[in-house]
């Protein structure tokens, strides 16, 4: 009987590898240097394992692609907060993996059971949107908005969020980010999870026996957050606040490109890219407040009115528009770098070379089509408009090309040259569109004429710079 296990990359890889080595699983390729995501055991021939981003693992085990998995209790809680009747269940804590999910707020924002907001809603930014919603309900917040973010949640308060949920090693790290911890929501220690159907139908005992004596005493109930209802009070914005242009710049590998353009435009900017994690770099742009966040999160932030301008990719703008067709966010200027194609991909063995052929094939074969994508809304739109029949979107946080064939039937993915796709024995059946970096803004009219002038001048400056750069 085939036993399938999902194992984490990242922070839990080394201690998990040590644990499984001690347990004698024989997964020698499971290491930081692993070149392949698929792993075989030389001890248990029936065992296959695959490496995933940690937050993908609860999904993979819950939908039955894997019998067991190792992830943090935080990601288990994030999944079960939204899907309480899931097939996913906790087998045991593994006793390693530092940190926890904390709720935090800027100093002075919460006092005497009242939270001060800049709008009608309490805004909560987090990589854990489901835990954030549970928290909002538990705090009996009257009106709230949840901003799911891909990262950099600590960059949002105080201007763009009143509360953030962050994974940190200690409360001291929360304080060093200039925030006040409201308490720990969930520990992020490692745990072993199992699919309930696998537990009832398969003999997992060889693997479970091998882990006997390895589990440390856990305390998964260590949710020490003292929940009392928070009342809300709206603060008044000053005129000065209203005229400041809030500009979001991307973190990650896009920074070098953006810096090059800003340099060419004669805009001085300090610590961007930053080696010390500065998220509010100073610049020579008068009346601009710059925040560095993930490009994936920018369209939603501009739509929600938290930023006036942002530099992101057309791929993320399109994904946002597919989720919110009436969104006020629009592309203001094509920055012409970071060119990628957004493509639909299947295994080479699939008897379809186009989406139309895939649609015919799905209708003949039946069954649910699994579509893995970071771009969940583009993937959903693609499947819906191309009538792929019953389909499931499997959200991923990277390394999507390793999902086919065992964990997905179709990918919606970006590619520069197509070489990674070809190397994984996959083929492109449709190019959905091309994406480059762009400046985005809102179609909503600003209340401040000064701000509008500043926005227009910045976009014009960038336009002229792009013309000069060719």
């Amino acid at each position: 009987m085939n036993l399938r296990v999902a194992l984490p990359k990242g922070r839990l890889l080394a201690p998990t590898a040590a644990l499984l080595d001690k347990a004698g699983w024989g997964l020698e390729d499971y290491s930081e240097k692993a070149r392949l995501y698929r792993l075989k055991s030389h001890i248990y021939p029936e065992l296959t394992a695959k490496m995933f981003q940690e937050k993908d693992i609860p999904i993979q085990v819950a939908i039955g692609n894997y019998d067991m998995g190792v992830c943090g209790l935080d990601w288990l809680a994030e999944y079960t907060a939204r899907f309480p009747s899931t097939e996913l269940c906790l087998l045991r804590e593994l006793g390693y993996g530092e940190g926890a999910v904390y709720a935090a707020a800027p100093p002075g924002l919460i006092a005497d059971g009242v939270i001060t907001t800049s709008g009608e809603n309490v805004r909560i930014a987090s990589e854990y949107p489901n835990l954030a919603e549970s928290l909002a309900l538990a705090l009996r917040l009257r009106r709230f908005s949840i901003y799911p973010v891909w990262g950099a949640a600590d960059a949002y308060p105080p201007e763009n969020a009143e509360i953030v949920l962050l994974s940190r090693r200690s409360e001291a790290e929360i304080a060093s980010a200039g925030l006040v911890s409201l308490g720990m929501l969930k520990t992020a220690r490692a745990c072993l999870i199992v699919n309930r159907k696998s537990l009832s139908k398969k003999d997992l005992s060889p693997l479970l026996d091998s882990l006997k004596g390895t589990a440390a005493a856990g305390d998964s109930s260590a949710d020490i957050f003292n929940l009392t209802a928070l009342a809300q009070r709206k603060r008044t914005l000053s005129e000065g606040d209203a005229s400041v242009v809030r500009l979001a710049l991307p973190d990650g590998h896009q920074q070098a490109h953006v810096r090059k353009i800003l340099d060419a435009a004669g805009v001085m900017i300090e610590e961007y890219p930053s080696t010390t994690g500065v998220r509010r770099p100073k610049s020579s742009l008068e009346g601009f407040a710059i925040t560095v966040i993930r490009p994936q999160d920018m369209p939603l932030q501009v739509a929600a009115g938290n930023f006036d301008l942002a530099i992101t990719g057309r791929d993320w703008l399109t994904d946002h528009h597919y989720q919110f067709p009436g969104s006020p966010v629009k592309e203001l200027l094509d920055l012409k770098y970071g060119r990628v194609r957004i493509v639909a991909v299947v295994a080479n063995e699939v008897l379809a070379d186009t989406t139309a052929e895939l649609s015919d094939l799905r209708q003949r074969e039946g069954g649910a089509c699994r579509i893995a994508a970071e771009y969940v809304n583009i993937a959903d739109y693609y499947a819906r408009t191309n009538r792929l029949g019953a389909y499931r979107i499997v959200p991923t946080w990277g390394a999507t090309e390793a999902y086919i064939p065992e964990d997905a039937d179709v990918l919606v993915e970006n590619t520069e040259t197509g070489s990674t796709i070809a190397r994984h024995n996959l083929k492109i059946i449709e190019t959905l569109f091309e994406s480059t970096a762009c400046i985005i803004g809102s179609t909503r009219e600003s209340q401040s004429a000064v701000k509008t002038t500043r926005i227009d001048a910045f976009v014009e400056l960038m336009r002229r710079t792009m013309d000069v750069m060719g």
């Binding site: 309480p84 809603n121 919603e133 909002a136 009257r142 908005s145 929600a304 009115g305 966010v329 069954g367």
Partner: protein
Amino acid sequence: MRTQRCKGFGDLNAQEMTRFRSVEAAFQETARGYGYSEVRTPTLEYLHLFTSAGTLTSGMLKRVYSFLDWDGWSGERVVLKPDATIPAARLYIEQLADKGQPARLSYVTNTFVFDAAGGKNRERWQCGAELIGAGSAPADAELINLACDSLKRMGIGHYSLRLSHAGLIRAVLSGLGLSAAEQHAAFNRLLDGDKTVFAGLTAQIPGVAEALKLMLETRGRSVGFLKNLQSLFDDSAPDMKSAFTDFIATIELVEAAGLDYEIDFTAGKGFEYYTGFIFRLFASDVNVGGGGRYDRLVGMMGGADTSAAGFGLYIDRLSALVNIDRLYIPVAQRVSMDIEPSAMKAGMEVADILRRLEFVVLTAFCGNVAADCGWDVKVRAGEPQLSVTNLATGETCICQNSMELATIVGLG
């Protein structure tokens, strides 16, 4: 692949819809007689309508169907409405509050609550009535009477009425020295049916243990029971005194109306917005409805402080209890009509006359007599143009015109 229903949701087949409409019609006719006007609120509402402190319990809020709408980029979620009273109160605030008159509203609506077991109960239907802007014992009694009369009109004669009082329970909890937060939590747990709350409290405060035990474990059947309890508790606290006075006034009217009832303080429903009397109705040991007074809800939702009360009757449960034999159309009232294409106009005239006479007229396809019919009518272009066969006796009559045919069928 076989098409499948969504887990937790069910179809209503023809027989079930007949039952549903029977319950609905009985309620609507009764509500009209009490002067209640029918309204309808949307399926989607903003989540914040339900998250205001003191509207729905945390347990309930965890099970709402919430999501981002197509224009939900602000991050604010919408819900499939989990409750019918709160949207009705919103409608009152937006459209009726300035009229200065009590609003009598009725509705038939579905609500949506996630249930992990995934039976067919994630979508629930109810008939509801809200009396907003009137806050006296007669208002309470009017609603209880309306609910009971609705059951009678549905043909459900045997039911039990259980009454409780949220204000009195709160006053007792307050008297036990619980802080507001503890009181809230204890009350939530009580309304969720958790009697262990009281076990803990009575151990802590033995002085009132016996009284509390009596209050919770005895089913009262008279105003006297409430007066006895009043004597056992220290009702010097204003909240306690006014709650007893309020509840006694309501019970006196219920008693005067000749309704059978029980006073059962543990009778609760998973909502925390009640402030005064609470009632539940049981038929064949099934909870088929309930409601109560919620004097603070309209104020909490941003309206002016307004007295209000209401109830819901659960159609899904009542449908299983109603007798619908009388609603079946007998075979003798069903006519199969075979019309030759060139005689369509004449055939339609005959069908129209029969339908006006409350016959059910079904088209006979390909010359096959429609199922479960007592009559077979044939309409032709040539002679004989009209003929009718009594399918029970096999007797066929040639008719000269539509009226003659209608007379034959009508007379049986």
